[in-house]
Structure formats: structure tokens, C-alpha cells
């Protein structure tokens, strides 16, 4: 009961802060939309069809949803670095709330915000020629939330080790962008050079983007664009198992890291 209240309080505060800073939230939306409009429209005619009935815009849209969720989740860790910088982290760390609850609350907060951001982008789907059948949403939203939780846990774990905003910036540049670029957001990853193939396959983001794309584009096109490992094409369930496993490791690391904070 105590744990739940702690988790809820920390989650609620993170959401309240974002609500206060709506302008920043809106600016995070501008970036993926810019990608969609510029690259989607610019490259669609040159790239032709990537799979039956899937032009570049349609291909990229689910990727951008994934990217938005990944980036927002990853960046949610920055709130911890800010809290450290401005002292509020101390208020949290001396409170009679278990550190496990702190890590869980932070992860859920980041994941919720990422899910909301992803949903806001999702509203633009019709503009890019995608129609979502209502039956997909009950699968798509939990998928996005799972991805958001896993990546938030990673963001929170990394941020708990980082002491300054500058260092956090560097980690974001060095880790987040390669993860996104090598996840199949911008191009199909089944025909890449061998060295890149390895990076793509060990990248947890790959297995985050793939299920979102499969759900949004339907099973037929998915088979043409899917991730194959040793000749086996990953199903949505298998992707999500990997994401969940990764998230579990990350949340345990985050809880451990918070537990040993001084």
C-alpha cells in the first residue's frame, strides 16, 4: 500500500510537470512531424513501393510512432538529472518511500508521457494515408506502453548514474540517436551490410519498432518488412518478449541503482 502511494505520487508529479510545460511537450511533437512531412513527402515518389501497398510515407509512419515513444521515454531520465541539479532529488531520497517505488514511479511517469506523445502522433495517421481499424488499437496501445516502459526504465537507470546535464546530453547523443537510426525507423533493415545487421539485431529498439509496424500495416506487408533472425521472421509476440525481457533487466538495474544512491 505504501509502495503504491509512493509510486503514484512520483508518477503524478512527473505528469503535473509536463502539463505545466505544455509548450515543451508540443515542441517534442514538432520534430517527428517534421520528419514525416519532409522525408515522407520528399522521398515517397523516389522510393516507390517498399512492400505491396506500402509507400515510404506509410512505411515511415509507424517507425516515427516508435521513434516518438522511444525518444520521449529515453529522455524522461533527464527529469532525474534536473532534480539532482535543482536539489529536489534529495527531497525524494530522504522521504520514507522505498527506492524501488521511486524507480518504478519514475519509469511509469516517463512511460505515460511517452504513450501520450505517441498517441498524439497517431492522430495524424489519416494525413499520411493510413487507416487504422478500431480493432488494432487495443493491441497497439499496450504495445506502445510496453515499449515505453522498457525504454523509460533504461533512461531512468542511465540518468541515475549521471551527475550533470552536460553528461546526460552526451549520453543521449551517443546512445539514443544510434539506437533510433539502427532500429528500422527510417529504412527497412533486412538488406543492410553485415556489420550493420549485427548492430540492428542487438538493438532493443529494433524489436520495439517492429511490432508497432506490424500492427499498423497489417500482416501481409509485415512479412515483407519484418525482422529475420537465422531465417526466422519475428512475430509480434516474440518481439514483445524481447522488449519485456530488456525492460525487466533495466528496471531491476534502475531499482538497484536508486537503492545505492547517496
Amino acid at each position: 500500500m505504501n509502495h503504491l502511494r509512493g509510486i503514484y505520487t512520483i508518477w503524478y508529479r512527473d505528469l503535473l510537470r509536463v502539463w505545466r510545460d505544455k509548450l515543451r511537450m508540443a515542441s517534442f511533437l514538432a520534430f517527428p512531424l517534421l520528419f514525416l512531412v519532409v522525408f515522407g513527402s520528399g522521398l515517397s515518389s523516389t522510393m516507390g513501393m517498399l512492400a505491396p501497398g506500402v509507400d515510404f510515407s506509410k512505411f515511415m509512419f509507424p517507425g516515427i510512432i516508435g521513434m516518438t515513444v522511444l525518444m520521449t521515454s529515453f529522455m524522461s531520465g533527464v527529469s532525474i538529472v534536473w532534480d539532482r541539479e535543482f536539489g529536489f532529488l534529495k527531497e525524494v531520497l530522504v522521504a520514507p518511500v522505498s527506492r524501488v517505488a521511486v524507480a518504478a514511479g519514475k519509469t511509469l511517469g516517463g512511460a505515460t508521457i511517452a504513450l501520450i506523445q505517441g498517441c498524439l502522433i497517431l492522430l495524424f495517421a489519416p494525413l499520411f494515408g493510413l487507416t487504422l481499424s478500431p480493432g488494432v488499437l487495443p493491441q497497439l496501445l499496450p504495445t506502445m506502453f510496453l515499449v515505453a516502459c522498457a525504454l523509460s526504465a533504461m533512461g531512468i537507470f542511465l540518468a541515475s548514474l549521471i551527475k550533470s546535464l552536460e553528461a546526460h546530453q552526451a549520453v543521449v547523443q551517443l546512445l539514443m540517436f544510434p539506437m533510433i537510426f539502427l532500429s528500422g525507423v527510417f529504412f527497412p533493415v533486412d538488406n543492410v551490410p553485415a556489420w550493420m545487421n549485427v548492430l540492428v539485431k542487438i538493438n532493443p529498439a529494433t524489436y520495439s519498432v517492429d511490432p508497432i509496424r506490424q500492427l499498423m500495416l497489417g500482416p501481409e506487408s509485415a512479412s515483407a518488412l519484418g525482422i529475420t533472425i537465422f531465417g526466422h521472421t519475428m512475430t509480434i509476440g516474440e518481439d514483445l518478449m524481447i522488449v519485456a525481457g530488456f525492460g525487466l533487466i533495466m528496471i531491476i538495474l534502475a531499482m538497484w541503482s536508486f537503492g545505492s544512491q547517496e
Binding site: 508529479r13 510545460d21 536539489g87
Partner: protein, 329 residues
């Protein structure tokens, strides 16, 4: 073990890589008293507080607060204490009310009394009117008052104040102290504070003096001042060296020399001044007498003044705050 000891510290040691920040200190604090930990910046005061507040672990030795062990019963210790940090620790993006609501939830203040308590503490620090304002818009003094209100919200047994009035104007400092003393009287809260302001330490019932990680004195302010041995006379003359020699020869007084001034302690100084003026061969250019302060105690105990260090510390603090403000935008 008498139950009235709300804080007990035994052989506490904290070592960082090379530095011994706290070197084997022991003391006890009685329930309901104001206990001052005094010392220059870097003496180890903040380290002691952060260990007592369970923010860092002792290298060896231990302590208990309200009967709970600070290492093994962290949660109970945290529930028993309130904290006002040296550096701000509010969420400046939220309103005063939201900061207090967050605090009351994480400290398990029952929902039924939450509203009433928040109103009470905000009223006490005179911020009730501003409760819906974003903390970022508050002045330094208001933020500190809000932190104090927050520290009291869960009715802690012990309130820790780490340099509570650092960087505040004298009027705000006085007001804060009124609150603190009032609180002790009404709620019986034990107050544990660190400071390098001498006049603040004098509010305390007991004072522990720290220097270089060690406890060098522990007593009430009056008795500590008593160790100085009477009044302090400051003297400046046309030739201080000659006057110093003369004082030693004629009155067996060992005068310290500090910034163009000689100073020494003597009982009944007011009677001694006329004699001195009459008898001293070296021409006196100024002479003054004052009651001893804790600063004199500190000088006597350590051989160096507290005030120079304090001034440096404050400058450091200002620079740090400026840096922070710049980074914000």
C-alpha cells in the same frame, strides 16, 4: 540508556577516498532541545547531517534517532525527521501547494488531516496567500520559508536545519528564528541545526563545535563563552609589538595580534581599561571592550577565526547560485 536522548551518535567516522570528513565523533541530543553544530565550512557538519538523515552511510560507528538505527531502520528514521537543506530542494515548476501535497503523500500524512496541516504550516510561514503560485516566482526568503513549512508538515520528532538562514536578509532570518523557537515550544520538536553564524548558535541549548572533522567542544553557549575567561579587549597602538611586549612584562597578558590590533581576554575588563590607559607607555590609538562571543570561543579552541571562513563560504555559495541560475536558461 535514558529515553530522553532523541539522537545518539557513537564513534561516527566517515571517510571519502583520502579525506576523513568525520573523525570519530560521539554526542547525544536531548528531546526538545535546540542543538547547534558549529564550525567553519568543510568542518564536516553537512556530512554529519547527511549521515543522520540516512543520505549517506557511515564508514564506521553509528547513530540512532528516535530509537531507530540510521543504517538498519532507515525508513523509520526518515519518518521521524524533517529536513531543511542547505541548498534549495523544492520543485520550482510546481506551486507551493503542490510541493506540500507531494511531501504529505510521501510522508504518509493521513488524507483526512492533509488540508488542515498544509494550511497550518503555510500560515505559520505566512505563505498561505501565495499557495497557488509557482515556486519559481518566490524570493529566496520565501523559498526557505516554504522549505521550513514542508519540513514540519509530517510533525517530525527532529527537525534538521542545515545552515537554514544562509544568504537570507537579517529580517527574514529573525522571522525564521521566531518560527523555529515557537515550534519547539508548542510541539516539543527537537531542532538540530548547523550554522556558522555565531549569533544563531546562541539560540541553542547545547553547542557542539567541529573543526577538521573532529568534535572539539560540546557545552551550552554560556559555559563555552565562560572558557574564554572574561571580557575581550581590542587595542591598537602606535607600536603594537612594543605594546604586546609591555603587556606581557607588566601584566603577564599574552595578547594575540590580528589585523593591526591586539586582543586579549581579561576578567572585569571595564576596571582594567583605566589602569591600562594610565600605565601603558606605548601611545594608545583606540581601545574597545566587548563581551565574549562564540567566535572568540572558536578562536580560542582552534587558533583560527570562524568568520573569515564563513565569509569565504558565503562567497562560494553566491558563485554557485549564480552558476546555477545561468545554466537554467
Amino acid at each position: 540508556m535514558p529515553k530522553s536522548h532523541i539522537i545518539e551518535v557513537k564513534n561516527l567516522v566517515k571517510k571519502y577516498a583520502k579525506l576523513v570528513a568525520v573523525n570519530d565523533i560521539s554526542f547525544a541530543v536531548e528531546e526538545g532541545e535546540v542543538f547547534g553544530l558549529l564550525g567553519p565550512n568543510g568542518a564536516g557538519k553537512t556530512t554529519v547531517i547527511s549521515i543522520l538523515c540516512t543520505l549517506s552511510k557511515p564508514t564506521s560507528g553509528g547513530a540512532s534517532i528516535n530509537g531507530f538505527d540510521i543504517v538498519r531502520q532507515r525508513s523509520q528514521v526518515r519518518q521521524s525527521i524533517g529536513l531543511v537543506f542547505q541548498d534549495p530542494s523544492l520543485d520550482e515548476q510546481l506551486t507551493a501547494l503542490e510541493n506540500l501535497e507531494f511531501h504529505s503523500r510521501v510522508y504518509n500524512v493521513p488524507a483526512s488531516v492533509r488540508k488542515e496541516r498544509i494550511e497550518q504550516v503555510l500560515g505559520m510561514v505566512e505563505l498561505w496567500e501565495r499557495r497557488r503560485d509557482i515556486v519559481k516566482t518566490f524570493s529566496g526568503g520565501m523559498k526557505r520559508r516554504l522549505e521550513l513549512a514542508r519540513g514540519l508538515l509530517h510533525y517530525p520528532k527532529v527537525l534538521f536545519l542545515d545552515e537554514p538562514t544562509l544568504g537570507l536578509d537579517p529580517q527574514t532570518r529573525r522571522r525564521l528564528w521566531e518560527f523555529i523557537l515557537n515550534l519547539r515550544q508548542k510541539e516539543g520538536t527537537t531542532v538540530f541545526l548547523t550554522t556558522h553564524y555565531m549569533d544563531e548558535a546562541e539560540y541553542a541549548d547545547h553547542i557542539a563545535v567541529m573543526d577538521y572533522g573532529q568534535l572539539i567542544a560540546l557545552d551550552n553557549p554560556e559555559r563555552l563563552k565562560g572558557t574564554v575567561g572574561g571580557d575581550v579587549i581590542n587595542l591598537s597602538t602606535v607600536d603594537n609589538q612594543k605594546a604586546q611586549a609591555e603587556l606581557k612584562e607588566r601584566y603577564q597578558i599574552q595578547a594575540g595580534s590580528d589585523n593591526e590590533q591586539l586582543s586579549f581576554e581579561i576578567a572585569n575588563g571595564d576596571r582594567f581599561i583605566p589602569t591600562l590607559i594610565r600605565e601603558l607607555d606605548t601611545e594608545i590609538s583606540s581601545i574597545s571592550l566587548r563581551r565574549p562571543t562564540l567566535d572568540d570561543v572558536f578562536l580560542k579552541l582552534t587558533g583560527h577565526r570562524l568568520r573569515d571562513e564563513a565569509a569565504k563560504g558565503e562567497l562560494k555559495d553566491i558563485v554557485r547560485q549564480l552558476g546555477r541560475r545561468q545554466r537554467r536558461r
